[in-house]
């Protein structure tokens, strides 16, 4: 492949794409850009056919790689650093740094005699955070941008073999990569002596098998090596001793998808976006109790209010905003008072949460924060690898306490024990999963302690979630006897004639909540105390 050929392919493909066009399916989570959005990572998603490398080239694909191969690796690392790009996987560590350390490690050891690669570049596509799906969107919609990013990263750090680790839960993403990689090879954009610059690089796909912890880089490395994905203590860092003991850089999908753009448009262009410490754009997956859920990409520093109310068009059925859960299971729940703080790595961390991979789940007044904490603890506990006691046993104990609380069995000591556990788990656990696992609990305890106390002291779940800790009451002064609730009630325990105030036959009410959801006049209220029939849901 030469620049000339690449340009010829681009010209041809651009014409052809203009005629053909590509339309987005209406139910896609990726709607056309909304006001306030700036698309860098998602720019091609839905704009091109992901299974045609020519389409990607039409959008200047692989021109960044050509440019990079005419620079020295040191210059590439410098440029990446200058752009201010920080890892999008969660920790926010600058990829340029990772490449730099890896490159040093490669230089510090003799070239392998057995012909094995001197170093590896791994693309972490094990997008495990519940509520985050931007990596899937990119891998499905624009796989080549990730491959090009990988090639550039590999050149910078000195790797000749790359692995892209994708969740088994993403079959389409895998398919599209399985198409994209051979296409890139055929055009000589992967393989030996790329662009005749003597740079070799190829990519293999590794499919995950359902273990959240494999998102942690050392666990991911073990998994690629064919073992149980159990994090190892660092040091040694992967940059020094990673995959099969070789220097290795693990970068996240979104991070790598940014790279080609940075080298096409220059570090300054990228650094021009975002805040002082967090440059560029960030994708967010908005979901939960928000009207216009979906995937967006916005400049760093935008406020949560803009995301939820402007782009997300506000809360579903006129409910009140209670909290935004950001950063997945290792992130936290932020109350209304943070709506106007600009979102970047620092501010979220300061608030006790995490940028994470950019999941943003909106919770409303009917979400119980104790139950949400229990939900996340159930998740991390289930996903804990079991290697170190603080995570394996600590999260188990936390889960047990939170479960008791949501079952009206919480005690005052439990509140202290929770604090004791969270404090120590975060400082003694081996890996980020264990250390961060407590954040959902810590943040809800900090911002919604009243809900915990209500559960413990009043045995009352004010949000009407924890079965057996509340009941419904029809407010006589509000009910207009429209009868909607009566019709909705599955067990037919709501009595009342048309236009007459209705009444719930409490002893027989199973507290399913259908009436509460159905009532358009907020005439049904959540009250303390269980009903005889309100049973507990089975817990897994």
């Amino acid at each position: 492949m030469t620049l000339k050929e690449l340009e010829r392919i681009r010209a041809k493909a651009q014409k052809e794409l203009a005629v053909r066009g590509v339309e987005i399916s209406p139910d896609s989570e990726l709607k056309p850009p909304r006001p306030g959005e700036v698309r860098v990572v998602l720019r091609n998603c839905g704009q091109i056919d992901p299974e045609r490398i020519e389409d990607y080239i039409a959008k200047d694909g692989y021109f960044a790689l050509y440019k990079v191969l005419n620079m020295t690796p040191e210059q590439v690392i410098e440029e990446a650093k200058r752009s201010g790009l920080r890892g999008r996987g969660g920790a926010g560590f600058p990829p340029g740094q990772k490449w730099f350390f890896a490159r040093q490690a490669v230089a510090s050891r003799p070239a392998p005699a057995d012909g094995t690669p001197p170093a590896y570049l791994i693309c972490n596509g094990d997008e495990g955070d519940p509520g985050a799906f931007m990596d899937r969107a990119v891998l499905e919609g624009d796989p080549n941008s990730v491959l090009e990013g990988m090639a550039i990263a590999a050149y910078a750090m000195g790797a000749t073999q790359g692995y892209i680790y994708v969740r088994a839960e993403y079959p389409v993403a895998v398919e599209h990569l399985q198409t994209a990689i051979p296409q890139a090879r055929r055009l000589g954009l992967l393989g030996k002596n790329i662009f005749g610059k003597g740079f070799d690089f190829d990519v293999d796909i590794r499919i995950g098998a359902g273990a959240f912890v494999c998102g942690e880089e050392t666990a991911l490395i073990d998994s690629i090596e064919g073992r149980r994905g159990e994090p190892r203590p660092r040091p040694p860092f992967p940059a020094v001793s990673g995959l099969w003991g070789k220097p290795t850089s693990v970068n996240n999908v979104e991070t790598l998808a940014n790279i080609p753009q940075i080298f096409l448009n220059g570090a300054d262009w990228f650094a021009g976006m975002g805040t002082e410490k967090s440059k560029g754009t960030k994708t967010f997956a908005i979901a939960g109790k928000v009207k216009n859920a979906g995937l967006i990409e916005v400049p760093m520093g935008i406020t949560m209010r803009e995301i939820i109310y402007d782009i997300g068009e506000g809360i579903l059925n006129k409910k009140k905003f209670k909290a935004a859960q950001t950063g997945g299971p290792l992130g936290g729940c932020l109350p209304a008072k943070y709506l106007d703080t600009p979102i970047d790595f620092e501010s979220l961390a300061a608030a006790g949460s995490l940028m994470g991979s950019g999941g943003l789940i909106v919770l409303d007044e009917n979400d119980c924060m104790v139950d949400v904490a229990r939900f996340f603890m159930d998740f991390t506990q289930d996903e804990s690898c079991g290697k170190c006691p603080p995570c394996c046993l600590g999260t188990k104990r936390l889960l047990e306490i939170l479960t008791r609380m949501t079952q009206a069995e919480g005690t005052a000591e439990d509140l202290q024990t929770i604090e004791y556990l969270t404090e120590n788990i975060s400082t003694t656990s081996l890996c980020a999963l264990g250390q961060g696992s407590v954040n959902p609990v810590v943040t809800t305890m900090r911002h919604f302690r009243d809900e915990y106390e209500s559960h413990v002291y009043k045995k009352f779940c004010p949000s009407g979630v924890c079965k057996g800790m509340f009941h419904y009451e029809i407010l006589a002064d509000v009910c207009n006897g429209c009868g909607v609730c009566r019709k909705k009630c599955p067990d037919k325990v709501i009595k009342g004639d048309k236009k007459v105030v209705h009444e719930i036959d409490l002893p027989n009410c199973i507290v399913c909540g259908d009436c509460y959801k159905a009532c358009k006049f907020d005439a049904i209220a959540i009250r303390p105390g269980p009903t005889p029939k309100s049973r507990l849901p089975e817990r897994r």
């Binding site: 273990a211 149980r228 190892r232 203590p233 040091p235 506990q381 289930d382 996903e383 804990s384 690898c385 079991g386 290697k387 170190c388 006691p389 603080p390 394996c392 046993l393 600590g394 188990k396 104990r397 047990e400 024990t417 004791y420 556990l421 120590n424 975060s426 400082t427 003694t428 656990s429 081996l430 250390q435």
Partner: protein, 364 residues
């Protein structure tokens, strides 16, 4: 040389981990998953220390020292963290130390004691496994397993057998064979190396249960009587009887490793079948003593006193020598006996009988 400070004390070391350097300088750091014969794992979190500039506590067993590093191994923060980990471990551990085979020889028990853990503040599920006594020699009480994986690593790093591994994930994980079968149904070779590194009562020598507490037994280092490798091990003795064989880690031949015969093949010593008194053919006894003699448990043999037996032996050998010459006598030394004994018996043959008809089963 690297200079660092540990607990304010300036230390120079050529390199290594915080744990190694601390130990070399007489600073004790508690460990559970660490074992001198195994590669460090950093899993149990007992050896956590404060490293200045690091957000979280770091495991001393894997953390390499570096120039100017400042380490605290006993700060309140560190001790609190270790106590926390111990409380967690205790929340999923039987509290039957009084009847536990390892009582007094249990690393967990010692640390629970040292860190003053009286009661665990955590109530909740704990593992419930039946005592696994389906196999010979090795008794597995997985409720006492603290998941330090020393057994798994010994089976892998020392024996290269890999009969056991960690199965399942998180709280459900367990040390087991493929499909959690009996050891007999796996490729286990019953070397017992797993027992030798287990810090608790999870893995113990089945045949030694109740035979003696660690403080009731004495250890005698000796050389294995089986194959030609010449492994060393420690005989554990109580009341003049061998009750157990344990690894002897510091010898160049086997470095603590043993095979099934070396570790478990000692029971023949106290077999009721042992010969305990000289025996003579009844007829021979009569010839010498003119009496019937005391019947023995072996047909055709009577029990003899040493004097008579030895005289009879001397007479028998001398008769053959005098009647048919020295080479009418043949003597077999033994590859099972000591050098000294083999020296003596060949000297006996050559010097007292005057024959070179001396051999042993070297070739068998």
């Amino acid at each position: 040389m690297t200079t660092l400070t540990i607990n304010g004390k300036t230390i120079e070391a050529p390199g290594g981990t915080i744990l190694e350097v601390s130990q070399a300088n007489g600073i004790r750091i508690p460990t559970l998953c660490n074992h001198p014969a195994l590669a460090p794992k950093g899993a149990c979190r007992l050896c956590l220390v404060e490293v200045k500039g690091s957000r979280v506590l770091q495991p001393a067993c894997t953390f390499p020292i570096s120039e100017g590093m400042e380490v605290q191994t006993e700060s309140p923060k560190v001790r609190a963290a270790r106590k926390f980990v111990l409380e967690l471990l205790l929340s999923d551990h039987p509290k039957d130390c009084m009847t536990c085979e390892m009582c007094g020889n249990c690393e967990l028990q010692d640390l629970i004691y040292e860190y003053g853990v009286k009661e665990t503040p955590f109530v909740g599920d704990h593992h419930e496994y039946p005592l696994d006594d389906r196999d010979p020699f090795i008794l597995r009480d997985m409720e006492k397993c603290i998941h330090c994986r020393r057994c798994i690593r010994a089976c892998d790093e020392i024996q290269a057998v890999n009969a056991i591994t960690m199965i399942n994930r998180g709280f459900r994980s367990k040390v087991a064979t493929s499909f959690d079968t009996r050891l007999q149904d796996s490729n286990c070779v019953f070397c017992g190396q797993c027992i030798s590194v287990c810090p608790t009562g999870a893995l113990t020598e089945k045949d030694s249960h109740g035979q003696g507490r660690v403080w009731q037994t004495t250890k005698v280092t000796t050389t294995c009587p089986y194959c030609g490798v010449g492994c060393n091990f420690d005989l554990n003795i109580r009341d003049g009887k061998v009750v157990k064989v344990t690894s002897n880690w510091n010898n160049p031949v086997n470095k603590g490793a043993l095979c099934v015969k070396g570790r478990f093949g000692w029971q023949f010593l106290h077999s009721p079948d042992r010969l305990t008194i000289p025996l003579m053919k009844s007829s021979l006894w009569k010839e010498h003593k003119g009496t019937e003699g005391a019947p023995s448990r072996y047909e055709g043999f009577v029990e003899a006193d040493w004097e008579t037996a030895l005289d009879a032996v001397a007479k028998g050998l001398l008769t053959a020598k005098s009647e048919d010459g020295p080479d009418a006598v043949g003597i077999l030394a033994s590859a099972k006996c000591t050098n000294e004994e083999n020296y003596l018996i060949q000297k006996l043959a050559r010097r007292e009988i005057g024959t070179n008809n001396i051999d042993h089963c070297a070739r068998l």
